[in-house]
C-alpha cells in the first residue's frame, strides 16, 4: 500500500490546539505587525454584523428569558447600540474581553470553522486543529452558527465569574464588553481604577480556565 496523503474527508487526529490566551496574544501581534487601521475597519464591519446575528439568535431562541439570560441579552443589545454609535472595542487593546471571547469561541469551534473556511476557499486552508488568524475569521461574512456560539459562550463565561464570589466581576465584564473604559467603570462602581484593572485580570484568568 502506498502512503497516501490524508484527504479532506479523513483528517488526521489533530494536535491539541493552543490555549485561547495564546491565540489572543498572537492576534494582537498580527494586528500590530500588519495594517492596524485596516484590521480595525474589517473588525468593525464584522463586529456589527456578528453582534446583530447573535442578538437575533438569542432573542429568537428564548422567549421566556430568565434573569441571567436577560442580562446577556441586554448586554448584546448594548453592544449593538454602541457599535451603531461608532463605539467599537479596540482590537489592539490587551484588556479587550471581546478578543478573548472571540478567541475562546474560535478555539472551541476551530474544527467547525476550519471546515467552513475550507469549503469557501476550495480546500486551500491549513489543516484542522491549527489556530485561526483573526484576519481569516473577520475577513468573511459572520457565520450565524459562530455568532450563536459566541452568545452562548458569553453567558457561560459570565456564569464562570460566579465562582469568585465577587459580584463586581460580572458587572465589570459587562461594562467592559459594552466598550466602557477603566475610568468610566471605576466611576460607575465607585472603586479605584486599579481595582478595575485588577479585576479585568481576574476575569481573563477565570475565562481562560473555564475555556480549558
Amino acid at each position: 500500500m502506498s502512503n497516501s496523503p490524508p484527504t479532506d474527508d479523513m483528517p488526521p487526529p489533530s494536535p491539541s490546539p493552543p490555549l485561547p490566551s495564546a491565540t489572543v496574544t498572537s492576534w494582537i501581534e498580527q494586528i500590530q505587525a500588519g495594517d492596524a487601521a485596516a484590521a480595525q475597519k474589517l473588525w468593525e464591519a464584522y463586529f456589527l454584523r456578528m453582534v446583530a446575528i447573535a442578538r437575533n439568535k438569542l432573542h429568537g431562541a428564548r422567549k421566556a428569558v430568565a434573569d441571567e439570560e436577560d442580562v446577556a441579552l441586554s448586554a448584546f443589545k448594548s453592544f449593538c447600540l454602541g457599535a451603531q454609535a461608532g463605539r467599537f472595542p479596540q482590537l489592539s487593546d490587551r484588556d479587550n474581553l471581546w478578543s478573548l471571547l472571540m478567541a475562546i469561541t474560535a478555539h472551541k469551534s476551530v474544527d467547525y470553522l476550519r471546515r467552513e473556511l475550507r469549503q469557501k476557499r476550495g480546500g486551500q486552508s491549513p489543516r484542522d486543529g491549527s489556530p485561526i488568524a483573526i484576519e481569516e475569521l473577520i475577513g468573511r461574512e459572520p457565520d450565524p452558527v459562530f455568532a450563536a456560539e459566541l452568545a452562548e459562550n458569553f453567558e457561560r463565561l459570565l456564569h464562570a465569574l460566579d465562582d469568585a464570589t465577587d459580584a463586581e466581576l460580572k458587572q465589570i465584564a459587562l461594562r467592559k464588553m459594552e466598550g466602557a473604559t477603566t475610568p468610566e467603570i471605576a466611576t460607575a462602581l465607585g472603586c479605584t481604577r486599579r481595582t478595575v484593572d485588577r479585576k479585568l485580570v481576574v476575569i481573563r484568568s477565570l475565562w481562560e480556565r473555564a475555556a480549558q
Binding site: S74, S78, A164, D166, G190, R209
Partner: protein, 656 residues
Amino acid sequence: MTEPDSTRLEELPTEDLLKINSICNAFERAWQTGDPPDLECSLADVSDVLRPILAAELIAIDIEFRRRAGLTLPEREYRRWQPDFDASPPRGEDETRPALPKPDSGDEFPRRLGDYEILETLGAGGMGTVYKARHLRMDRIVALKIIRTSIRENPLLVKRFEQEVRAAARLVHTHIVTAYDAREDAGLLYLISEFVDGTDLDRIVRRDGPRSVVEGYSILRQAAEGLAYAHAQGVIHRDIKPANLLLARDGTVKILDMGLARLRSTETGADEHSTLTAVGTVMGTAGYMSPEQARSSRETDERSDIYSLGCTLYFLLTGRPPYVGETALGTILAHSTQAIPPLQEHVAEPLSPPARQLFERMIAKQPDERFASARELLNALDRLPELRDATRIDPALGSRPRPQTPPASRRSLLAIAAVLMGVLVVAVLLGGGLFSSAPTTPPEGDNYGLDFNGRSSYVAVPSLAPDPTLPVTLEVFVTPRSERTSNVVSWMGPHFMALFLNGNGNWGVSRLEGNQPLLIVATERVELNRNVHLAGTWDGRELALFLEGRRVDTTPIRFDLQPTTGGFFIGGVPPDLLPAGQNDRFFDGTIDAVRLSRGVRYEQPFPRPAQLTSDDDTLLLFNFNQGQGTSLEDESPHRHRATIEGATWRKLSGGE
C-alpha cells in the same frame, strides 16, 4: 511605571489571583466605609512570593483614596513594601474619557431641548447642570436638569432612571420640589421638575449668616412636613442637607431631589456597598451624613434623614455643620466618634430646654435614640415654646382662636421673630390680614358652611397626595352666588382634577390624563343661590357629572390644563400655583361639605344624601360644622389638616 507589577499579576495562577483580589476588596471596602485600612495587616496573610505583587496593588488603591480625601501619602511605609516606589501618577490616571457632549462646560448650553426653550443657567447640582426652561407649547416655566453621567449610554440605566423619575413624580407636596418627567433628546438625558423661585439654604446662610432661632426651627418644621409625607410613601431622601432645601420667595421650604436617592447613587457610582465615592459628593454631604449611613447605605431608614435634618438645623443656626474634620473622611468619622456639640454654645439667642433636647434627639448616634419618624418630630416641634405661637394648633386641643401661620412666609417669620424678641403678644395676626376668623361660639349641632368671596378666599389641604391612577369621586354641597368661572374643588398635581363652574353658568368636571386635558360641562344652566349636591366621577377612562343624584347630560369642552404642584384646594387655589390667566378661579358662594372618595361612588341615579359621612373609601371629608377658627382637621381617618384662607363661617338655615 507599574506595568511590570501588572504583568506579574497576570502571570499568577487563578487561585492566587482570587486570593489577592479578595484581600484588595476588603482593603478597598475599609476605605469606602471611612475606616482607613492598615497596609501591614493586609499584607500579613500571603506568601513571600505574592507579597510584593499584593503590595503594589494595595498601594495603588491606597494612593487613589488618599488623593481623593486630600491626605498625604505615607511614602516611607510604601517603600518598605515596594522599594522602588515613587509618587508619580498611578496607571490609568491620564487615560482619556471618550468624547461626550458637555452641556456643563463654560456658558455654552443648548438653546432648545425637545419641547423646552432653555432660558438661563440656575446652577450645577450633584447630578448635573440645572437650567431654567420654558415649555414652548404650554408656556410653563420649569427647572431642567441635564444629567451629567454616562448612564445615557447604557439602556438599562436609562430605563432605571426613567422608572425612578416616574416614582418621584408621584410625590406631590407643598414642601417637596415635584419631579415632572424624564426625557431624552439630542443624546441628552434630562429631568424636568417644578421651578421654584428661590435660593437654597446653604447659599443663603453662607451669604447672609445664620438664621434666627425661630426661623431655623420653622424651616425645620416645614422640611419635616415634607419628609413625613415622603416617608409615609416609603421614600427616604438619603441626602438631606442645606443645599437640598430651597427657600422659595414666598417663604416656603421645599426639599430638592426627593425620591432620587438611587439615581444619585447611579450618578456618583455609589452602590449598596459604598457611600464614599465621588469626592465632590462626599465633601458636600459629609457634614450631614448619619453614622449608620456612612457605614452602609443598606442600614439607612427615615431616621437617617432625621439625623441629617438635625445637622441641617445646626448649620442654619450656627453657620457651620456640627462636625468639621480636616478632611471629608475625618468629618464622616467625627459623626460616630465625637460628642454632640452643645447647640446653645454657638447660638446667641436663648434656646428653650425642649428646643435643645429636640436637636440632640435628632442627631443621636444610635437611630433608636432618635425620633422614630418625622411625624413624631413634628409633634415635638408643635410643643416647642419657640414655635408655640407660630404653628397650627389642633382645634380639638383648645377652644380659643389661634392666629395661623401660612406655610411660613418671610413676612410671618419676621413677625414671629419680632414677637419672641420683643413683646409677647399672643393674638398677633401673622401674615398681615390674610386671615379672617369669626370666633363666635356656635351652639352644638348647628349646620355651618364656609363662604367664599370669589376674589381671594380658599381652603388649603396641602398634605393630600394625588394618586394618578385612581378612579375617584369628588362631591360637594354647594350654593353658587354668581356664574363666575371658578373651581369649587381642585385636586392639584400631575393629574389635576376639579369640579368647576364655567363662564356660561354650567357645572363641569375636569381631569388631566396623560397630559391630555379632559373636561365635560353640563348642558343645563346652574341655578344661583340654591344649595345642591354636585358629584364628579372618574372611572379611569371617563368623567361623569351628577347633580342632586341624577346624571346630567354633558358635552366635552376644550381647555388647556397643565400639571401643577400638589395639594387639595376648596373654593379657589393660591394664584402662584396656577399659570397666569388661569389663576383667578375663585368661587363665589357657600360650600357646605366636601368629600373625596376612592372609586366611582355613583353610577346610577341616587337620592340626594342628607349628609356626607366617612367610610372605607373616603379619602377626605369636611362637613364644615366647626363654625369657627381658621384650621380644620379632615373627618376621615386620614386626618388631613386644612387651613382657611379668607373664607368666612356662615350659619346655614335648617333644611338646606
